[in-house]
Symmetry: C2
Subunit: 249 residues, 2 copies
C-alpha cells in the first residue's frame, strides 16, 4: 500500500473521521486474507495544523495577494509531508481546496482533490445538480461551483444570507466536536433553501467535512438519505478515494 | 505551543483517543481568552505505522537481537518525526515502551514515556500497587514492573495464564475498534485476579491504550471508578502529560 499523507486539523473532528474511515477500509480490505496479527494498515503521516492560524489568514476572493500567508501555511505543511516520504496527500477539508492550485504549486507528490472526488461520485450517482453547504469561502468563492460546471454539474448555494449564516454558525460549533440540535438545524436550512430554489431532485452536498457529523449513525457513508433528501458526504467520499488510490497498482 | 509528534496506529482507536484528548485540552485551555476564530491548536505530526508489520516483528525478552527489526521500525518513525521538526514526541501505545531505550537511542528530541507519566499519576493519587493489564509483552516482559519498582510502586500481573489470554483476546478485538461485552469481560478478569492476589486497594492499570475504550462514557478521564475498582487510564494520562509539556515554558 502507498504511504498516505493527510493535511489535517481542519478541524480535528473531520481528521478523526478521515483516519477512522481509512483504517476501517483497510480492515475490510484485508478481512478474508487470514493474515497473522492485527489487520495491515497503510502507513500514514498526518500533519495537523493550527486552524486558528489559518482561519485568521483567510484572504478575500478577487484579491490574490491577500491569500499569501494562508497559501504558504498549507503549502509548507504539504511540503513537510512530501519530505516525509508519503506517496500522495489529501487535504482533509473542503475550504483550502478553494486555494488548491496555489497551495499545491511546485509539489512533486499528487494531492487528490476533494472537488474531483465529489465530481466522480456525482457521475456515478447521475447527479447533475445539488445544494452546496459549506464554510463561507466554499459557499461564496465560486471555485467549487466553477469546477463542477466543467463537469456538467450545477452547484446551487443558498441565496439567503441569513441561511448561509446559519450554516456557518453550525460549522463553528462542529469545529469544537459538538453541536446543539445540529440535525434539525441542517434540516431547516435545507428545507428553506429548496423552497427558494428550482431544483429537480433534493440533493445536498455537505461540503464542509464536519457537517456529516450531525447525522449520527450515517456519518460513515459516502451518500445517504435523510428525511427525503439525498446527501453527499464529502469527508467519506474523499477518504474512500484516498484509500482506493493507496491500494491501486 | 510546542509542536507535538505522535507515533500512532498502535492501534488506530487509541491514536484517535490521544488526538481527541489533546485537541479538547487545547480548546479548554483557550476557552476564556475570546480569541477570534476557532480555538488555537498545537501543531501535531502523527506518524501512523502499520501495526501488522510491527506485531509480526516482536522478539523474545531475554534475546536482545530478536528485537532488531521491531526496534528499527519504531526508531525510523520517531526519526521522521524529529526530521519533521516536532519539539518532542510520544509513542501512543504501551507495548513499544517495553523497548523504549533502544527505540529512542540517538534521538535528539525528548520522547515522553508513558511509564513515567503513569508513575507520576500514581504518586499524586498515593497508589503504591496495582493490577497491570496489557498486551502480552507488557504483562510478561517485566520492564514496566521493574520501572515502577524503582518508584516504590508494585505492579502485579495476573498469575493465571488463562486470565492473561482473556485480556490479550479482548485487546485483539479492540484493535479493530470494537468488542463484544468488553466491560463485563474486564470486570471478570479483574475480579478473578483480585481473588488470587493479596492487594490492599482495588486499583487496576489499563496498560494497553485500547482497554479504556470498553468503559464508554469514562474513557476520557485519567482515572475513574467502576464497580468498586479504581482504574488508571494510561491513554489519557499520557495524552495529558503531552499537552502539559506542549504548553510549558
Amino acid at each position: 500500500m502507498k504511504r498516505i499523507g493527510i493535511l489535517g486539523g481542519l478541524a480535528w473532528p473531520a481528521t478523526i473521521e478521515y483516519y477512522k474511515a481509512i483504517c476501517q477500509l483497510s480492515q475490510k480490505h484485508h478481512a478474508n486474507l487470514n493474515l497473522p496479527g492485527p489487520s495491515p494498515m497503510p502507513e500514514m503521516c498526518i500533519e495537523s495544523v493550527n486552524i486558528n492560524y489559518s482561519y485568521n489568514r483567510r484572504g478575500s476572493f478577487g484579491n490574490e495577494k491577500s491569500w499569501k500567508d494562508y497559501d504558504e501555511y498549507f503549502h509548507a505543511a504539504l511540503k513537510r509531508l512530501e519530505d516525509n516520504g508519503v506517496d500522495f496527500a489529501i487535504i482533509a477539508s473542503n475550504t483550502p481546496h478553494n486555494r488548491y492550485d496555489s497551495i499545491t504549486k511546485g509539489l512533486k507528490i499528487p494531492v487528490i482533490s476533494i472537488f474531483e472526488s465529489v465530481a466522480e461520485t456525482c457521475k456515478i450517482n447521475e447527479i447533475d445538480e445539488f445544494l452546496l453547504l459549506g464554510t463561507e469561502p466554499t459557499m461564496n468563492s465560486g471555485v467549487f461551483p466553477d469546477y463542477l460546471k466543467r463537469h456538467g454539474i450545477r452547484a446551487i448555494v443558498p441565496s439567503d444570507e441569513t441561511v448561509k449564516l446559519k450554516v456557518v454558525g453550525l460549522i463553528s460549533e462542529l469545529f469544537k466536536g459538538k453541536s446543539e440540535n445540529g440535525r434539525s438545524r441542517i434540516d431547516q436550512v435545507v428545507r428553506s433553501s429548496f423552497e427558494q430554489t428550482e431544483i429537480k431532485k433534493k440533493v445536498v452536498c455537505l461540503a464542509c467535512t464536519e457537517l456529516p457529523l450531525v447525522f449520527e449513525g450515517k456519518e460513515q457513508y459516502e451518500t445517504f438519505g435523510d428525511n427525503g433528501v439525498f446527501y453527499l458526504n464529502t469527508t467519506i467520499i474523499h477518504a474512500n478515494a484516498a484509500f482506493r488510490y493507496a491500494i491501486e497498482g
